[in-house]
């Protein structure tokens, strides 16, 4: 954990103006989507952001992709600014960070062959030789478990799992260092999901990729992640290694997420897994901020709280001493 992290998000805030508020419905309100989020991603690791709909995890991913401007705070890549003034252009950014979306059908152009979808980024990045492009497309297809002759086909000719492989191939064709995985297996059937998870882990090892995964599925997160950040309404409530989060979750919201995931083993053992967690004594006079029992108002700035390190690398959000 020394030196400059590959990706650093520092005190990120994203607020969206929402029309229609106030007495006459003409006012503007600010929706606080992400509130002071700080994270680092190291080379070769898989960091997962977990949370439910509306917690701000996808907004965070879009900001990292440069598709959403932060309201304040910064994103830096290898110590250099990646957002705001001094940020690199789209072309440089594309070589650093790529994304795999949840629904590969919606994210592939139905009128382009697989070859065209994969060749376009290479051409844009200055590779002129048709034979080199064909070589790289072919190699990439084989790497994701497809065959070279499938390059001539269109997205609708593939099954859901194969389409997700194409989505992964397109993300990797420029050899980015970071791949954002936005719910990469949520839309897939169990047997296909296993194949894609295995593929993602193989590719990570082969290319030394760093993954920033957005997911609501804690079983997948436990399987794939090195570190996990749990988000609730725009803020991280708990962050730690996968062992911290799954063996010793401390924040009530994390515990609730883990307890309520439908898992055959847990259901068969017919016990409440939360009962097995040992409570960690909180520092004097402190309490959990946003314990997940009530829904905060997204239109007001959150009450002050901070992430407190309770174990090296394991941080939990506590209210500020009052």
């Amino acid at each position: 954990m020394t030196g400059t992290p590959l990706l650093q998000i520092d005190d990120l805030h994203v607020r969206f103006p929402i029309a229609g508020g106030g007495l006459l419905g003409t006012g503007r309100r600010l929706l606080h989507a992400v509130n002071g989020l700080s994270l680092t991603l190291e080379k070769g690791e898989c960091l997962s952001i977990v949370g439910e709909s509306g917690c701000g995890k996808s907004t965070t991913a879009l900001t990292v992709m440069g598709l959403q401007e932060p309201s304040s705070g910064s994103v830096s890549f290898r110590g250099a600014p990646f957002s705001g003034p001094g940020a690199p252009g789209r072309m440089q950014r594309a070589k650093a960070v790529q994304i795999v979306f949840q629904d590969p059908y919606a994210s592939l152009n139905p009128r382009q062959t697989v070859h065209a979808s994969l060749a376009a980024p290479l051409r844009l990045h200055g590779i002129r030789s048709a034979s080199e492009i064909a070589d790289r497309v072919e190699t990439m297809l084989i790497n994701v478990g497809l065959t070279a002759d499938q390059a001539r086909r269109y997205p609708h000719e593939f099954s859901g799992g194969q389409r997700q492989r194409i989505g992964i191939a397109r993300a990797l064709i420029l050899e980015p260092e970071i791949v954002v995985l936005d719910e990469p297996v949520s839309a897939l059937d169990v047997s296909i999901r296993a194949q894609i998870i295995n593929l993602l882990l193989d590719l990570q090892e082969k290319y030394g990729l760093s993954y920033l995964m957005i997911s609501h599925d804690l079983s997948v997160v436990e399987h794939m992640s090195d570190r996990v950040a749990v988000m609730f309404f725009g803020q991280i409530v708990e962050e730690g290694s996968w062992q911290h989060i799954f063996a010793n979750p401390v924040h009530p919201y994390t515990r609730r997420l883990i307890a309520e995931i439908p898992d055959p083993d847990v259901a068969i053992r017919a016990r409440d897994p939360a009962a097995g967690f040992t409570d960690v004594p909180l520092p004097q006079g402190r309490s959990f901020a946003m314990d997940g029992s009530n829904t905060p108002d997204v239109f007001t700035a959150p009450t002050p709280s901070e992430l407190v390190e309770i174990d090296p690398g394991h941080r939990v959000r506590l209210s500020l001493r009052d």
Partner: protein, 303 residues
């Protein structure tokens, strides 16, 4: 031994086309006992939803039943006149679907839609039905039912809408509830609440449930007995605990090995997930074997 509430016997279903029929379901047989929660689990296209549509008599052309019986409370639903079937639906057998928005009329208040059930099936007056609708909303734990009864579906969250649909489904105290992926579109914590609700309400009223899901975890947490579907066949059936602790069919075993399990990495380290296609080279053999274990006989012989 008590009579089963629903007895599906050797159900065959085909997609009829010029030039011949394509088999969709082959020889599906299972029973649901009164008050029992029975799960059908399988991947997309395995035939679990079409099974439920066949039971409800909601198949559309070109799908048609080509053989078998669906015996509900002693009568074969497949032989019932459409009019009688319509009276039965919503009254004795009710359904809830994955997407509550499609089951609700966006132009009508949720209160009116629940009240309609009492008016149509029980001949109540609208005034009384509205009062019953408030009670129904209260029973599915919708906060402020007196106020919510006047809400339109779009004014509610996904979790609340699904509660409204459950209230509608249970309004006439059906004997069988068919729930087709009722929590798939919901967040984890909301899903857990809705599952608890279905479990509690059906247990309290003695309603039997046919619960259809692709999610092994959800099935394990709510069902007493489970059937595993693959390619239009019921390949394995057993009591839930026995099925999950001792899966016998190659497909069931593959499916369970393909699932990342919560806590498994902590105890066993990261195991590579099973790729069914690499374990079973020829999937066509999967429908040739069946493991149906009788109720309560966890280690019985296959039928």
């Amino acid at each position: 031994m008590t009579e089963p509430l629903l007895d599906v016997r050797n159900l065959d279903l085909v997609l009829s086309r010029r030039g011949g029929n394509v088999p969709i379901l082959q020889d599906i047989s299972f029973q649901i006992m009164p008050g029992e929660t029975y799960g059908l689990v399988g991947e997309s296209g395995s035939g679990k939803s079409v099974t439920s549509l066949a039971i409800m008599g909601l198949l559309k052309k070109p799908l048609k039943v080509s053989g078998g019986q669906v015996v509900f409370q002693g009568q074969d639903l497949l032989k019932l006149r459409p009019r009688r079937m319509r009276d039965l639906r919503g009254d004795r057998v009710a359904m809830i679907f994955q997407e509550p928005m499609t089951a609700l009329n966006p132009l009508s208040t949720v209160g009116r839609q629940i009240a309609e059930m009492y008016v149509l099936h029980q001949g109540k007056s609208w005034r009384e039905a509205r009062r019953l609708a408030i009670d129904a909303l209260d029973s599915v734990k919708v906060p402020n039912p007196e106020r919510r009864v006047g809400n339109y579906p779009h004014q509610m969250s996904g979790g609340l809408r699904q509660r409204v649909v459950i209230a509608m489904a249970l309004a006439c105290d059906p004997d069988l509830l068919i729930a087709d992926e009722p929590t798939t579109a919901l967040d984890v914590t909301v899903q857990a609440e809705v599952l608890r609700l279905i479990k509690e309400l059906c247990a309290a009223r003695g309603t039997a449930v046919l619960f259809i899901s692709h999610d092994l975890g959800v099935i394990a947490s709510i069902c007493q007995r489970v059937g595993v579907m693959y390619a239009g066949c019921l390949v394995e059936e057993n009591d839930t605990v026995a099925l999950f602790s001792n899966p016998r069919h190659a497909y069931t075993r593959g499916l369970m090995g393909a699932l990342p399990r919560l806590g498994s990495r902590l105890t066993h380290g990261r195991q590579r997930l099973v790729d069914i296609d690499s374990v079973i080279a020829d999937r066509s053999v999967l429908t040739k074997t069946r493991f149906i274990t009788p109720r309560g006989a966890a280690n019985g012989e296959s039928a």
